[in-house]
């Protein structure tokens, strides 16, 4: 579904992505991990067209997408930190997104309902707490029932109950045959939802393996320890 081919990106002298290639498929939850500053967010941003790689190709359903925009109809994105126009009301944000997408598919309002977004409808986005903003952001990402979900540290600001709701949602979406990319540092969470792990260190590809095989290879039952072992190699 998504193919990365030899992605290169540097900011000045700093090499952020170094020759990254990967293949992500439908019905798959991939967790992108790596230490801080390893290039996770940059890779996600490349995929979303927010950062333009110096070289390499990105294919979505076989079509190159760099500097294109229509392909983003297939993607729902939840950023690490959600900041919205301060004076805009929650209602307007959803209205605007619906305006932009013009989708004919039925909307997926599950998270929308679970997080009780309508209760905040008349609040301005500037007045929302960080957690509530994340909820809005998550609800937006799922709203258009996209084939690909990209979640950048989705549970970072959420309370445990909301995190749980989101995780359940992720699994449910996977079962519909979607591709879900999650960047996260929380290993237990990854263990719960992900099938495969894609690991970056300092912009270099480290490994891309299923959780089972990682646990197999390292002979560890806890993912955190298994990963630590993998990294030490």
């Amino acid at each position: 579904m998504i193919t990365l081919e030899n992605l290169q990106k540097s900011y000045g002298k700093l090499q952020v992505l170094n020759n990254i290639s990967a293949q992500f498929n439908t019905n798959q939850v991939v967790s992108i991990i790596g230490p801080n500053g390893s290039g996770k967010t940059t890779m996600i941003k490349c995929l979303l067209g927010m950062v333009i790689p110096d070289s390499g190709r990105i294919l979505v359903d076989g079509a190159p997408v760099i500097r294109q925009w229509e392909y983003r109809n297939k993607i729902g994105y939840m950023p690490q930190i959600s900041r919205f126009p301060e004076n805009m009301k929650v209602r307007q944000l959803f209205q605007m997104m619906r305006d932009i997408r013009k989708t004919t598919k039925p909307l997926d309002e599950e998270l929308f309902g679970m997080y009780n977004i309508p209760a905040m409808y008349e609040k301005s986005l500037g007045s929302l707490s960080g957690g509530n903003k994340q909820k809005v952001s998550a609800a937006l990402a799922c709203l258009f029932d996209p084939e690909i979900l990209v979640l950048d540290e989705p549970t970072a600001g959420l309370d445990p109950l909301s995190s749980e709701i989101l995780k359940t949602k992720i699994l449910k979406e996977k079962s519909k045959g979607k591709l879900i990319l999650i960047s996260s540092h929380i290993m237990s969470e990854i263990d719960e939802v992900a099938d495969d792990i894609f690991c970056l260190v300092d912009g270099n590809f480290r490994f891309y393996q299923s959780i089972e095989s990682i646990k197999d290879v390292t002979q560890e039952t806890r993912l955190g320890k298994a990963i630590a072992k993998m990294m030490a190699v």
């Binding site: 900011y11 941003k45 979303l48 067209g49 927010m50 950062v51 333009i52 500097r67 925009w69 229509e70 392909y71 983003r72 109809n73 993607i75 994105y77 950023p79 930190i81 959600s82 900041r83 919205f84 126009p85 301060e86 004076n87 805009m88 307007q92 605007m96 997104m97 305006d99 932009i100 997408r101």
Partner: protein, 255 residues
């Protein structure tokens, strides 16, 4: 594109800065027209303020707004929309709201107290300057990621166009007074949008004095619509060129 402009506009129009700016302009215009017995004189006092304040507010507000909208722009960029459209919508949203504030704050009082061509040219110049300096604001915003640096560039641009440039040109003219500088002066004027806005109003108010200027080019320039058309054309160019360059930079920019 329209739908994004709509939301950007809605966002800005509710912000306190634009409301304050509108109120300030309105009170100032209203006050000037009431204090001055001669409305033409009030328009001229207004012109001085317009030439200073409108560029300053436009460029500063435009820059700050752009930096503050980084996340909103990111949100939009992750959506299926053309980047160029996002950028131009943001620009038009800011420029339109500033122009609207100007029209309400200055245009309405001017047209009530002194209806006529002078006011029309004053308002047109002000609207153009709003667009031009927002355009320059967006250019300085895409030039650097650092907000403080961006505002610095914006302030420098304002200072350059509103004071430094005229001072330099006057100095050159004075220094080379013995040479024929007619066409050069006209050329140099077109390199500063604030001067263009000023000249547009001058063509109406001070035509008696301007006609005293020797030089055939000037006579044809001031004598008919050529001058006005040319000044408007150049202002339009001043609007389009910076925002075009900024847009090209933005499309390639990493967010």
């Amino acid at each position: 594109m329209n739908k994004i402009i709509k939301y950007v506009l809605y966002d800005i129009l509710r912000s306190r800065t634009v409301i304050g700016y509108t109120a300030f302009l309105f009170l100032m215009s209203f006050g000037l027209f009431n204090l001055e017995s001669d409305p033409t004189k009030a328009v001229l006092s207004l012109l001085n303020v317009v030439l200073l304040i409108v560029p300053l507010i436009s460029i500063i507000f435009g820059t700050i707004h752009f930096y503050n909208s980084t996340e909103f722009i990111e949100l939009l960029v992750s959506q299926p929309i053309n980047r160029r459209k996002i950028f131009l919508s943001e620009y038009l949203g800011v420029a339109l709201s500033l122009a609207m504030a100007f029209v309400v704050g200055v245009g309405v009082p001017a047209m009530i107290f002194n209806p006529g061509p002078t006011s029309i040219y004053l308002v047109t110049s002000g609207v153009f300057l709003s667009f031009i300096f927002t355009s320059l604001a967006f250019l300085s915003s895409v030039l650097t990621r650092d907000k403080a640096k961006g505002i610095g560039i914006a302030l420098m641009l304002w200072f350059y166009f509103s004071l430094l440039y005229d001072g330099l040109v006057m100095f050159i003219l004075f220094y080379f007074a013995d040479y024929p500088l007619d066409n050069i002066t006209l050329g140099l004027l077109s390199l500063n949008p604030i001067d263009l806005g000023r000249v547009l109003v001058l063509l109406n108010v001070d035509v008696s004095a301007l006609m005293g200027y020797t030089g055939a080019l000037y006579k044809s320039f001031f004598g008919n619509w050529t001058g006005i058309a040319l000044a408007f054309g150049l202002m339009l160019l001043w609007t389009i060129v910076p925002i075009y360059i900024a847009q090209r930079k933005f499309v390639k920019k990493d967010l």
